[in-house]
């Protein structure tokens, strides 16, 4: 159905990729638009860019609305620029589930990098895509990476699975917390604690900052606790004080990153430099411990899975159309002529047959190039 050219590069697209690699801002912007729109041929573009990626430190910043993410991103970008790094920012805002419209306001805070084209700031909206948002963000990051940005920041509101997925496309994840944002039970919610490599108490000049800092410190240590406990349980089967245990323990100590808690006042820029140092420390840790390879591989695995799932989903959607459309099928189930399971089996049947025929060794030209 797709033909073998899902990742083929058209002449225009090849030119666009060439312009992007040559440093044209316009081409970079245009490529990100194609990625967002899923314009025909965008896969070829991303595929062509892939080999040029891998040079950037990717940092994800998440936190509740009003925690100061945009302001902090602005100051971070300017601090990176001060030391000569170029910066890309992808800011993700929610869109209306009713009209699809969105007001993307993160740009308002970008006041420190006026007219500096080496800070490439791009707003993206969720566009109601199921799981597609993290895909689009990851691809936009690739475009910025291939363009040659040294540091790439992904900024998103930390509410719900979608945003967590988005932020997980980063190497280093910072979770922003503002003082007085509730007791420690709030922080336990929604898996926020597990995704953070660095926790930042922003607006640290406000009342209650010390307490929030202390609570986070405690949380982070408690988070370390359970894993260690499990390790202990495992080791419990072995003879205590066995000589082999020593090396085991050492490896554990160096491979495990213990989350840092930092404090910033994004408005004034206080603490931003030391925050960047922490980011660097984490990046160095990832590289030296080899964890970066594992992280990247896990991310690519996820990416492949998402792509395959969405492609297979598209096949299924086409198959539903061939069977008369979802409305007609639903109507026949409502009239008790059939049931949802039988309908699903009927639709998936032909696809499954093709796959099985393929597995039996039949040569199919499509399968060779399908990504």
């Amino acid at each position: 159905m797709d033909g073998p050219d899902a990742t083929a590069l058209g002449d225009d697209d090849a030119e666009l990729v060439g312009d992007l690699l040559d440093g044209s801002h316009r081409a970079l912007a245009r490529v990100i638009t194609r990625i967002e729109n899923r314009t025909a041929g965008y896969r070829g573009i991303v595929a062509a860019l892939h080999e040029h990626t891998g040079g950037a430190d990717v940092i994800g910043i998440t936190g509740a609305p009003g925690a100061g993410k945009s302001t902090l991103v602005d100051k971070l970008a300017s601090a990176y620029r001060d030391r000569g790094d170029t910066v890309g920012v992808v800011a993700v805002d929610p869109s209306s589930p009713y009209t699809g419209g969105a007001v993307l306001g993160d740009r308002i805070r970008m006041a420190s990098n006026v007219g500096d084209m080496d800070v490439f700031f791009r707003s993206m909206s969720a566009r109601g895509q199921l799981g597609g948002l993290s895909m689009a963000t990851a691809d936009a990051v690739k475009a910025l990476d291939a363009f040659g940005k040294d540091a790439i920041i992904i900024e998103t509101v930390g509410a719900g699975q979608n945003e967590v997925d988005v932020v997980r496309t980063a190497d280093t994840v910072a979770v922003l917390v503002q003082p007085g944002s509730g007791d420690d039970v709030q922080t336990l919610k929604a898996g926020i604690l597990e995704i953070g490599d660095v926790f930042v108490v922003n607006k640290a000049d406000m009342d209650g900052a010390e307490r929030t800092l202390a609570e986070l410190e405690e949380m982070v240590h408690r988070r370390e606790g359970p894993t260690k406990g499990l390790d202990g349980g495992h080791h419990g089967f072995e003879v205590p004080d066995h000589p082999d245990d020593e090396s085991d323990g050492d490896a554990d100590g160096s491979a495990e990153w213990s989350p840092e808690v930092c404090r910033t006042v994004a408005n004034t820029g206080e603490g931003v430099d030391s925050l960047i140092e922490t980011f660097d420390a984490h990046a160095t840790h990832l590289r030296e411990s080899g964890a970066i390879e594992a992280t990247k591989q896990r991310r690519y695995a996820e990416e492949i899975r998402t792509l395959v799932r969405s492609d297979v989903g598209a096949l299924a959607t086409a198959e539903i159309e061939r069977h008369g459309g979802i409305e007609a099928l639903a109507a026949s189930v409502r009239r008790r002529e059939t049931d949802p399971y039988s309908v699903a089996a009927e639709i998936v049947g032909p696809i499954a047959e093709c796959v099985e025929a393929d597995a039996d060794g039949a040569e199919r030209p499509e399968s060779a190039t399908e990504r």
Partner: protein, 139 residues
Amino acid sequence: MSAEQETQAVRCLVAKVGLDGHDRGAHVIARAFRDAGFEVVYSGLHRAPDEIVQAAVQEDVDVLGISILSGAHNTLVPKVIEGLKEYDAFEDTLVLVGGIIPDDDETELKKLGVAEVFGPGTPMEETIEFIRNNLPERA
């Protein structure tokens, strides 16, 4: 891949340029655009022409709506348009101006490449309709 759904959206930049602190109109427009299903990037107040150009290029917007109520449109709008041309972005960006613009100036602005000028009291639907009908063709 043909089966994959394209999800195109109209992207607009609503920009306040120069020393002009009146942003109620820009807010109302931004909201109306959002409700029309557009993706609206709002620039914030007191932006320099350079910043507007930077934002329009990086965000790759289809529509650039400049709101000016300070009377400085004859200085500021040409700078923005020049900047867009510099980045090769003028051809496929629909440039609109909103605000209080005298008739003579309106003619001049349109000669420069502004697609339309919307004065006070323009119904929201008219602006949205105009955008829908005049969206630049993009490759």
